[in-house]
Amino acid sequence: MNTVVADITYRAMLGRKRIWLLVLLPVALVAIAALLRLIGGSDEHTAVLLMKTFAIGTMLPLLGLIAGTGVIAPEIEDGTIIHLLAKPISRPVIAVTKFIVAASLVAVFAAVPTFIAAYLLIRDESGVAYGFTLGALFGGVAYAAVFLLLGVITRHAVTVGVIYALVWEGLVGGYVPGARKFSIQQWAQSIADQVSSSPFFKTDVSLGFAVPAMIIVTLGALLWAGTRLRSLSITGDD
């Protein structure tokens, strides 16, 4: 962890238009929760539906994508990453620092609004709010690591990430039960299910698989990103 690199990355993430995307989605989540409460749909079933489809299913992958790729991909695209790589800082340390920044952003912008929205709807009934907050937190960290890796390997990180989140987790995961085992979204739901006792919420992936898988994916992605940064080549854009 290098504080100077972290500081620069935070400024790049929060000082640009990127912050609007980071802010708008959580605000929308809380606004929807408030609206649902107003129209009288604030029961446990609604809360679980909102958390599952919007908080974990839409907001979490998007924020992970924006934060995970945003901490490194623009610098690689501009070529300004050379100035950073030329400094006597170990490349894996750079990768870890960028990851910590991305993970902390996802934690603030995804996990906290998830808790606020769930709490707004049903207070702490059945532990839904705590469960989904924990799920969003760990899922967000895993997403940040994976999308950071994508940002280092490919120029089309955002597109590839979107295809993973939409096609693999959304479409394929919807039809093929086996594919759900390899989906960060499902692992996040497993954690949420463990904490909450809601009868409206069932997950397919056991916690015994989800937690080790999440740890392996996060650490593996970080290691790979660090190694990859050591031999990064800056080539022209198409």
């Binding site: 995307l21 929308a28 929807i32 749909g41 919007f54 096609v167």
Partner: protein, 289 residues
């Protein structure tokens, strides 16, 4: 007294252009054609071709499967008007992946003043980009539909072919193309960064589809069916499907139906107008910087 001019422009031997000058219309057309080719990666590197052709191939898959089902199992394949709604995730990814390519590099490298120093005006530029993306989106929907229709005619199932459904779906494809292109360019032109452009377009799609799904589910569970059907229209794909239902009398593809009347046909032009107005405002500012 008048002094002799001291500044002289020397002819340093560049070859002059003496051919016909085709003017504004041709310039805009050339820009549109070049943009359209670029959307599919033609004239760009091999890596730029991977994504559009991969997505276009995925769009064709259901048509191929449907033809096989018609030929082997003697059953109806995927209905034409439901094609775009079924493949909405792929269309959204294509839109998100390709619309920033059209506008982001020009903004990022600040070459817009170069365009506008030629006969091309701001309106021409925006029109060319919008037309290119709209034609690309139309091809993406219309080619699989046409393949499916050709397959249906060749398989020669008993009973008349679904010609009216096919035509309705093609009409719907035009509406899809124009609406999606306007939204895509409007969102992508907000940022000169391609990655952020991709993220904002896909965020728009995911946001609208999730919001419509959540509100539909909740409103239905508390017994407000009319309101639930309105919530469906938040998703742009269901909005156009509602236009299809209202204009061409096709079956709703969401399995639930839409609010009665021509409201969707009114909302679509308003959305397009807002998006185009947004693009115009954006480029008024960008052109002078």
């Amino acid at each position: 007294m008048t002094s002799e001019p001291t500044a002289v422009i020397h002819d340093i031997g560049y070859r002059h252009y003496e051919g016909a000058r085709l003017g504004r219309g041709s310039a805009a057309l050339a820009l549109a054609v070049n943009s359209l080719r670029g959307v599919f990666g033609l004239g760009r590197t091999a890596r730029a071709k991977i994504m559009p052709f991969l997505l276009a191939t995925i769009m064709l898959l259901p048509a191929v499967v449907s033809i096989a089902v018609m030929a082997l199992l003697k059953q109806d394949g995927l209905p034409y008007p439901a094609y775009a709604v079924t493949m909405q995730a792929v269309l959204a990814i294509f839109l998100a992946a390709q619309s920033p390519y059209l506008v982001a590099p020009d903004l990022r490298f600040r070459v817009l003043p170069l365009y506008f120093s030629r006969p091309v005006t701001v309106v021409d530029y925006i029109g060319a980009k919008l037309a290119a993306l709209a034609v690309a989106m139309f091809l993406l929907i219309a080619v699989p539909l046409t393949l499916l229709f050709a397959g249906e005619l060749l398989v020669d199932r008993p009973g008349p072919p679904h010609t009216s459904q096919y035509l309705a779906a093609m009409g719907g494809a035009v509406v899809y193309a124009v609406l999606l292109a306007a939204i895509g360019i409007a969102l992508a032109s907000l940022t000169p960064r391609r990655g952020l452009g991709v993220a904002s377009v896909i965020a728009f799609y995911l946001f609208t589809s999730a919001v419509s799904a959540v509100f539909f589910g909740v409103l239905l569970s508390i017994g407000r069916e009319t309101a639930a059907k309105w919530a469906m229209l938040i998703n742009p794909f269901f909005l156009v499907d509602a236009v299809q239902v209202a204009l061409f009398g096709t079956d709703p593809s969401n399995g639930e139906g839409y609010p009665p009347g021509l409201w969707a046909c009114l909302i679509v032009p308003v959305v397009i107008a807002v998006a185009v107005a947004g693009i115009l405002l954006r480029y008024r500012k960008a052109a002078s910087s």
